[in-house]
Symmetry: C2
Subunit: 363 residues, 2 copies
């Protein structure tokens, strides 16, 4: 993995400098300074490049693991480690608590991404992971859709109109023109605001589809995205039915054993591309499939080039979230924060003069 | 697990307040404010209590996992998760790079401990983990030695005179009087300063043992501690030989597959108490043993009470580091930082008004 810019200089001189913290406010400053479109273009470009040129001898990720619980509410806290050997380790910790928005006014997904230096083990950077998760999940959809989505102005169906819907549509719009958006959410108050939230980054009109016309979400779409908080065992969120022959679906919501969004009938007919196969069979749409029904993983798809025949058939991107995506996204944010003097240096691991005296400085 | 004090108040009102960061300087402020002895007493007391009353239905830890590598130098970065169900998750990330002190003037162990709230998933606190690792490893030694070490003023042998040696001796001194210290390190410049570093917290005289009298480290000791950076396959760091019948050894250094400090001959005769059995068979002294040679784990030992018969025989504490110890230590630091107004609030995950708008606030 080659990154074009280094975000920390002088590491040889001060191996344990402060930790660069880019919280939500600073991340929004970065986005505002660079521009939302330009940021997503750079993120999509880097992700495309890093995944296409992935050397598995150098860059590994571990499957997501974590604590899943039902007390005090249904939720999970997970860790997603990645290593770029000889350079750095990233660990994203991500929490999913679907009752957050409704009970607490807080996003359902919260997280942070930590970047460690492999020479010393120091924590170099810590980046807010809520907005960044939405952005990198959007970018992953864009990277795969750029290969598998029809090459025409798109009608995009959004099932689930929360935070992820905004970045899904925004990222898609950077690789294909979007002509119109059909939107649906079981929570009417969430659906009611999607046009405003999306309107800022995507110019296509957003039409809310009523429940009794739900079949249009499949029938009229060139691309569909599902990004819902559907409960375990309560899926799917799309119904089988007529669809365009080259429909591409980005299934983004599944992230919990038993949670699925896409009906088996569609999956069985589709080229299904998991982001991380071992993870998708546990938490993604691939839970519903046998091994021989699962297509190439995202990295293999990208390596096979932009003319993959999957573009001409029904396809599903089973996006459960890949630690590599987080590493790439956090690196980009740290690079840009350094470039524009944003973020906050925090004295977390500074050391004394004597590495053998743990009490040095205690008075 | 019951903690007597809560370190965050008003969580119901502001579910996503800032994150409390206690870096090294702030941790030293905490230690200085509370006093080194008082801090260790509280840490030892809490750890003893929490482990003794551990309810495995409520509190779980995951075995340490991580990336181990040889580029650019031998090192590892690992994660150690723990959950106190319904309350919080802690994840320590810890790095071990044995060339740090000699090549970079940086401790070999670096780390951070993150505490997450299980209701929202928010990162509540982040504590420096280098000094704290030395402290909690010392406290774990004290907790086990309080059961297994002879009840008399101790001659303590230290093999390895780095940062851990200071906290090993300090913590031991809180549960037993120390009469004298015998110290040895292959690096003479490290051995040369241990008396000064230890003298601040332990009043016993420190005698450096020359290489050709190495056998005294075993023969004269009531308690021995090994905390070295011995290379993989280069152990043991003690040689088999005559020793007191009720010698207790705290084997602290092993933390890497192939790294061991204690000779098999001693282990085979001893009651061996692992901190985390599944981890010790991979990274600790238990690598050298068959299952039936391994004694009760630390929590079982503590639950069996202070009059365990192991006190009257040769015993070894195989201390590889337990995520629960980190959770307890980080909680204590956050409690004390709150109590004394220390540490730094960092805006990491603050949210906007609309949990469904990832771009809210980007200008």
């Amino acid at each position: 993995m080659i990154f074009s810019t280094m975000y920390v200089t002088g590491r040889e001189v001060d191996a344990l400098g402060d930790t660069m913290v880019v919280g939500r406010a600073a991340l929004l400053d970065v986005l505002g300074t660079v521009g939302l479109d330009a940021f997503l273009d750079r993120l999509i470009g880097r992700m495309q490049h890093e995944i296409t040129h992935l050397d598995p001898e150098v860059t590994h990720t571990r499957d997501r693991d974590g604590f899943h619980y039902t007390k005090p509410d249904l939720g999970l806290i997970e860790w997603m480690p990645a290593i770029d050997t000889g350079r750095r380790v990233s660990i994203k910790t991500v929490a999913y608590h679907p009752s957050n928005p409704f009970q607490r006014g807080v996003p359902s997904v919260l997280g942070t991404i930590a970047i460690y230096d492999c020479t010393t083990g120091a924590l170099d950077g810590l980046v807010e992971g809520t907005v960044l998760t939405a952005l990198r999940t959007g970018a992953a959809t864009a990277v795969v859709s750029d290969v598998l989505a029809p090459r025409r102005p798109l009608t995009v169906s959004m099932v689930g109109c929360g935070a992820q819907a905004v970045t899904q549509l925004h990222a898609l719009s950077r690789v294909r023109p979007i002509e119109r958006v059909l939107a649906y959410d079981v929570a009417e108050e969430v659906a009611a605001t999607i046009a405003d939230r999306v309107g800022r980054v995507v110019s296509a009109p957003v039409e809310l589809v009523p429940s009794d016309e739900h079949a249009r979400l499949l029938a009229d779409a060139d691309v569909a995205c599902t990004c819902t908080s559907v409960g375990i065992g309560e899926g799917p969120v799309l119904q089988p039915g007529p669809h365009k022959p080259d429909l591409h679906i980005n299934a983004v919501g599944a992230d919990f054993a038993g949670k699925t969004e896409i009906p088996y009938e569609l999956l069985a007919d589709a080229l299904v591309v998991p982001d991380v196969t071992t993870q998708c069979v546990l938490e993604g749409e691939c839970q519903q499939l046998e091994a021989d029904q699962i297509g190439p993983s995202m990295d293999l798809l990208l390596r096979s080039g932009a003319e993959h025949p999957g573009r001409h058939q029904l396809s599903v991107f089973d996006s459960t979230g890949w630690a590599l995506e987080d590493m790439v996204a956090a690196e980009l944010v740290l690079d840009l924060a350094a470039e524009h003097g944003l973020g906050q240096w925090v004295d977390l691991q500074s050391v004394g003069v004597d590495p053998f005296d743990p009490y040095e400085g205690a008075v």
